[in-house]
Symmetry: C3
Subunit: 361 residues, 3 copies
Amino acid sequence: MAFVKDGWYCAGWTAELKDKPSSIVICGEEIVLYRDTAGKPIAMENRCPHRFAPLSMGQVVGDRIQCPYHGLEFNSRGECAFNPHGRQTIPSRAPQKTYVLEERNGVIWIWMGDSAKADPSKILALDYLDDDRYAIVRGHFKVKANYKLLNDNLLDLTHAAYIHPTTVGTSTDAGIRVKYSVRTEGNRILSQRLISEVRPTAQFLGLFKEPTGDFYSHLTWTAPSSMFLDLSMVPHGTPKRSVKEPDVDCVLIPGAHLIVPETEHTTHYFFAVSRSADIHNQEKTQAMIALSHKAFMEEDAPIIEECYRLMEGKEFLELKPAILESDRGSVLARRIVSRLLAAESPDAGTEARLGDGVIAE
Amino acid sequence: MAFVKDGWYCAGWTAELKDKPSSIVICGEEIVLYRDTAGKPIAMENRCPHRFAPLSMGQVVGDRIQCPYHGLEFNSRGECAFNPHGRQTIPSRAPQKTYVLEERNGVIWIWMGDSAKADPSKILALDYLDDDRYAIVRGHFKVKANYKLLNDNLLDLTHAAYIHPTTVGTSTDAGIRVKYSVRTEGNRILSQRLISEVRPTAQFLGLFKEPTGDFYSHLTWTAPSSMFLDLSMVPHGTPKRSVKEPDVDCVLIPGAHLIVPETEHTTHYFFAVSRSADIHNQEKTQAMIALSHKAFMEEDAPIIEECYRLMEGKEFLELKPAILESDRGSVLARRIVSRLLAAESPDAGTEARLGDGVIAE
Amino acid sequence: MAFVKDGWYCAGWTAELKDKPSSIVICGEEIVLYRDTAGKPIAMENRCPHRFAPLSMGQVVGDRIQCPYHGLEFNSRGECAFNPHGRQTIPSRAPQKTYVLEERNGVIWIWMGDSAKADPSKILALDYLDDDRYAIVRGHFKVKANYKLLNDNLLDLTHAAYIHPTTVGTSTDAGIRVKYSVRTEGNRILSQRLISEVRPTAQFLGLFKEPTGDFYSHLTWTAPSSMFLDLSMVPHGTPKRSVKEPDVDCVLIPGAHLIVPETEHTTHYFFAVSRSADIHNQEKTQAMIALSHKAFMEEDAPIIEECYRLMEGKEFLELKPAILESDRGSVLARRIVSRLLAAESPDAGTEARLGDGVIAE
């Protein structure tokens, strides 16, 4: 298993972690999440060191989490702070592993690696999630595939015309005019696409009033696997509108697509899609939910899971994939992940030269 | 995994491959099947070389198959013939593996090995499937067991009295008179059984009018695992009737039993059972379907799957099976398969001397 | 896999083995059980030596078990005694492995190891199961965890206050007074607990009439994994009542908890719980059944299975568990099992020094 540990991952939505503990597996590590009496989120190794019960099945007792099996209690530093039995001797043992958390934009971000390296300024900005000019829908799916296949999927939107013709994809008509550029900025990838004079896709929910317009797709991918997908329709010839400046003549539907490796073979997909128009219309909100479910769970996931199954446990490079120009974004992302992996563990990171000869940096 | 690759296998029924592509796994290989504009069936490696999506989830576009994920198109030689993206550069990469197919008697036969060795004259003749004097029912089951256990099952019909007493088996009464012979002819086995003056089994559907008769079971097994089972009831003392000469005094129920290894641990069972009498009676046809399902899926498959589970992944020979005289057919078939395996790969084929001392060639 | 083979395990309840054969897996061995014409239970290797079908799917024919597939018959010594086919030659092959059985107290006990060492005097006495002053409920659950985790669970009843507060557990109130002792006697462990002046738990079904009383829990654990749990409530200050002397002022609810390794990863849990009061009340009996199901299947099993999953296939010791004083019973049991394993196979038995420094013998 090769995961980038020194990176920020979504561990859940703020609104969903309340008074009960919850559990999540990230990069193969079993984690319990709970809030202390001040509401601060805490994350630690989920497995109790006594008989290995999951702390997440226990209760929050003040600032501590209590094991469901025999009642040992652990504080926010992961130390056993109470043993209710006999002479109440605290067992001598290293504390549970704890994790650095950062809560912002309604996302609980977790740093899986060395705490000393955790730098919150590297977290992907998702300020629109706190902006009440947007109607927002959040969700969490799981996919039976390695997380890199989800990076590939989102970084190459050419698939939309084939997989998503009635949801988030534009037509494959020959007449379509596309401008497309991809560049890297450190450990980020900026992929920008403009399709001119095109009919709005179904995900615009009929909110863009003209029959055609200019469709901007600006994707910011941040290593290891968080994406901000800034989609908008504007009247033909009008400049792209910033997500900070929604207005009536355009429709903005920015989205967060947060890919989180659960295990080598399974992946969390946290998403938050939104819209700048008709934001109090509950029917439109229901349609956004239905469309997200359909586009991902009925259209993307079955294909991605089949791809992963057909890879038969082999490494991507080992299968000598055909590389197309349209793979530029996903190839560059794989190279960045590869370099990060190699920095953490010299044996990993084999994809640093993927697509050489086809894709230049 | 050890499969005989240089052999013809059933890849499906002609009637079931129409305008949509389909997929099948044979000998562990993932295959897409589709028809070109002329109706000719085409088979190739199912996994797209780009991102490894299954071509079978895509569409047929003229003579090509289009990948469902990003729209690459492949021609009947397995070559990528169209890339819809950017400058439309065709990726340089070896073509998909393709397979030799031969369509006859309503069966799509596939040659899994070296194309140069594919000899259609070796295909098992099943002419009754094109003969309108028979009512025919076709089906396809799957079993969780190695394919050799299905060869064993069909090559030793003594199990019928125990597993199938109310469907395809005769009674185990002591008074029963059986003549039985098994011989090999090259890579074929001819197993012939005559049970005299016996009541017709349920599979004769009440069509044989006398209370008892002579029951002929002539089995032709063709390596690796295709069988023609020529069953008939004739009035006592009458010679066996050829499948080419059905007549009113006898009832012929010839059947094809085409065993196809899917993986080492799972097997396709394609069957086509038929009858020479009352062929337009839909109730009888429904009864044939129900009886095939019961005999195989409720009677054979549960036992065969348990046998395979109890073998715990071990080789048949390694378990030192007790060999009976009645195993003659299945032992000879295992020896032939063993020789064919050894011819393809010197490390395989360990059962060439199975049953030595009990079963002579 | 490491199982204590030289030990008595429950192979089933007397009342449930009737005229049909049954199967069970114990210590990873597939076993068929049936009764001969005299009603004597017989146990042998379930896998037929011919084509490996499970004999348990066959029929009992007189004193023999008949294979469901081709009709070979095996006698109580595991010998093939009849081959119905051809010249009826008996195949020369070692007989099926057979097992020593001992039926008492309504339990079919099986000895998994060397027959010469089988000593019925070592079987755990459960005489209350034959005593008509008790109402008895028997059951059989399966758990996805190694059997040692069930030993641990029952030998450390401190978990009851956390997992079972509304079924079999007492309150965790600080004011509670507990006397607790654990000692070994050869390969037995006697764990005795007295909780004074406590409210009866739900499992006493409202039968103990006073608001509080003295609650005795006397557990006898017999290697490898059979337990007699002698629970009773008596008026405060009254001595513990023997299971042989139930009386109206006390309520006795003795129980058998017979833990049987199925495989390394799965365990049978046979239990028989009873009560000495209001024994003809069917509603109380139904409540006992419901409470056993809830306490084990809804409360214990989910935690135990999660513990085992979180151990990720590692050995208990390898995970360096925190050992508490309250682990005394389970640690001593693991040491005994460890010594028995080492006696049978020098490579096994690594837990002989578990808890050194915390738990003295």
